[in-house]
């Protein structure tokens, strides 16, 4: 009986490792290809390790992508901070001070997170053009802040729901007002809420393609658009393409590796049931 159990456990781990290998196939290919020289990258030797590890492709990719990489940071960081702040005060209002109709407001906010953004694109570009923000990074920041409000509000509303109402009631009795309670009680307890919303929003903005390609032209394009341009060009070799994909993915991967726990919480909050 024990022997069967042990064999079963062994099989379980073999299975888990095999699946893990499947998920890692693209990572392997990206890494080995990125470190190959132009002469060594060939269709028939795709799976082989490089004979000679070279930084040539990564250098070339960085040369092409570097400025766009910078654009993505200039875009993602302010957009993340602003959307999280909106999310925090909205979440506080909707979870701790439920007025009549609060759920209708919440519904109207939430729906914005599921719409196909194509359905707002034509007017959006017109309006950005009108306020001189078309083809600018601030314009793209505005877009991401607005369409990031729903998910950030949802994350913070779920997060604040777990803070006991008693604390707020006793602060009220002590005479603390709406904003006093927010500043002295809610905000200090919000750190992990900001981490969850921040990581989620940063990843979404960094990885976004539709708004990026619609709102910006060179040289203001974020890294995702630059990556697609490089990959779509007939003259760029595969080692440089894979190196570009690697560079474009590194920031979100680092965030995921170090703060994955919070990423999962954002993910689960995003499915509405917190």
């Amino acid at each position: 009986m024990l022997a069967i159990r042990r064999i079963n456990r062994g099989l379980l781990y073999v299975l888990l490792l095999l699946i893990a290998c499947f998920y890692l196939i693209p990572v392997y290919v990206v890494l080995v290809t990125s470190f190959k020289t132009n002469t060594e990258v060939s269709l028939s030797q795709m799976w082989w390790l490089p004979h000679q590890w070279s930084l040539q492709a990564l250098g070339a990719a960085w040369h092409a992508l570097g400025p766009n990489f910078g654009n993505s940071f200039m875009l993602a960081i302010p957009a993340t901070i602003l959307a999280s702040l909106f999310g925090s005060i909205n979440g506080y209002a909707l979870s701790k001070w439920k007025f009549k109709g609060a759920n209708v407001v919440f519904f109207l906010i939430l729906f914005g997170m599921f719409i196909p953004y194509q359905s707002v694109l034509i007017p959006l570009l017109k309006v950005l053009d009108l306020i001189s923000l078309y083809n600018t990074i601030p314009g793209l920041i505005l877009v991401h802040v607005v369409y990031g409000i729903p998910i950030c509000t949802l994350i913070f509303r779920n997060f604040y729901a777990s803070i006991p109402t008693d604390i707020i009631e006793s602060a009220q009795i002590d005479g603390t007002g709406y904003w006093g309670i927010y500043r002295h009680i809610i905000l200090p307890l919000s750190i992990s809420g900001f981490v969850v919303a921040g990581i989620w929003e940063f990843t979404q903005v960094w990885n976004n393609f539709l708004f990026a390609v619609a709102v910006t032209n060179p040289p203001h394009q974020p890294v995702t658009v630059a990556l697609v341009n490089i990959a779509g060009s007939q003259t760029v070799q595969f080692n440089e393409q894979m190196a570009s994909a690697l560079i474009a993915s590194i920031p979100t991967l680092i965030v995921y590796i170090f703060l994955g726990k919070y990423f999962v919480r954002g993910l689960l909050a995003g499915s509405v049931k917190g």
């Binding site: 906010i109 194509q118 707002v120 009795i173 393609f209």
Partner: protein
């Protein structure tokens, strides 16, 4: 004294509460204004554009009623989009549900290094759709990648992946052939790789929420692992499954970056999607009204899933 305090206490609190509620509404005003303009106003605007004659660079707001809808629905491209979208969404969700549930069950066996495996199966979600598309388009390039391995196993006729133009079974219907475009399977592999971790994470949360007493009771009743799974665990995961289906459907109807980076519309539009069609029709073809039609159709399809889901979720909460 005590009696007096008891009297004034609630009164004072009610007053404070109402001023707090007013502040609560004021807090929400900026966001509501932004969203009323950028979501609802713009949707209305797009809806209006879809009924105009604006089909060149120069705006033309002459009303033509639903004529654009008629035109778009009769095009080969849009009919292909609808076929592709339905095929893709159904297969994508089915596979993600099965893979996600299997992974969650494997991870839920009190294994060592649980967080390692969980993070590994989920990491593709942290990567952009376009990077995923670029990498998988190379892995599934018919001349290399996966096909090299298939050839090494002695397969003579290797699949053409996203370059295939076959549609199986390809029954003529409308302008198009109805069936499963083989090229979509390549897109499917990439998107399952990217999103199955989501299903796993939500299923895992669902599994952890099942009370242990239920499983214990099944054990005492003499049910084996298989029976316990079918008659105790699976029914408990109904709500979780609904959640996953809704979220993945919304994601699948919007899929854009992956297609754009991996295949584009494809030959004969075998991998085209409404999102892609809208983008090219509007910004490369300058057919603004027809682009608006496509985006409104996308919105309606998503709304059909999302609105009932949101309403029922918010009701449940109350």
């Amino acid at each position: 004294m005590d009696v007096q305090l008891a009297k004034t206490g609630p009164e004072r609190r009610r007053k404070r509460l109402s001023s707090g509620k007013i502040w609560s509404m004021i807090t929400l005003i900026p966001s509501m204004i932004l969203l009323l303009i950028f979501v609802y106003g713009f949707i209305g605007w797009t809806g209006w554009v879809s009924t105009t004659a604006w089909n060149s660079i120069i705006p033309n707001f002459l009303s033509v009623g639903l004529k654009n809808y008629q035109i778009v629905f009769q095009t080969f491209r849009f009919q292909s989009d609808i076929r592709n979208m339905v095929v893709f969404t159904v297969l994508f969700i089915l596979i993600c549900l099965i893979v996600g549930l299997c992974l969650a069950l494997l991870i839920d066996q009190r294994i060592k290094a649980e967080s390692f495996f969980r993070s590994l199966y989920l990491f593709p979600m942290a990567i952009s759709a376009v990077a995923t598309g670029v990498v998988w388009s190379w892995l599934l390039n018919p001349d290399t990648g996966v096909n090299l391995i298939l050839k090494a196993f002695g397969l003579k006729h290797v699949p053409q992946w996203f370059l295939s133009t076959r549609i199986v079974p390809g029954i003529p219907g409308g302008q198009i052939q109805i069936g499963i475009p083989i090229a979509l399977l390549a897109v499917l592999i990439a998107s399952v790789w990217q999103m199955s971790g989501f299903a796993m994470a939500v299923y895992l949360a669902g599994l952890r929420g099942i009370p242990d007493e239920l499983k214990e009771a099944a054990k005492i009743d003499g049910a084996n692992a298989w029976r316990t799974f079918w008659s105790v665990i699976l029914p408990q995961l109904k709500a979780t499954t609904t959640t996953i289906i809704i979220i993945l459907t919304a994601a699948s109807l919007k899929v854009f970056g992956l297609i754009y980076a991996m295949t584009g519309p494809g030959q004969d539009f075998v991998t085209d999607m409404p999102s892609m069609n809208m983008f090219q029709t509007t910004y490369q073809g300058d057919q603004f009204a027809q682009g608006a039609v496509i985006s409104i159709v996308m919105l309606i399809l998503i709304a059909l899933f999302i609105i009932p889901y949101l309403i029922s979720t918010l009701r449940e909460e109350e």
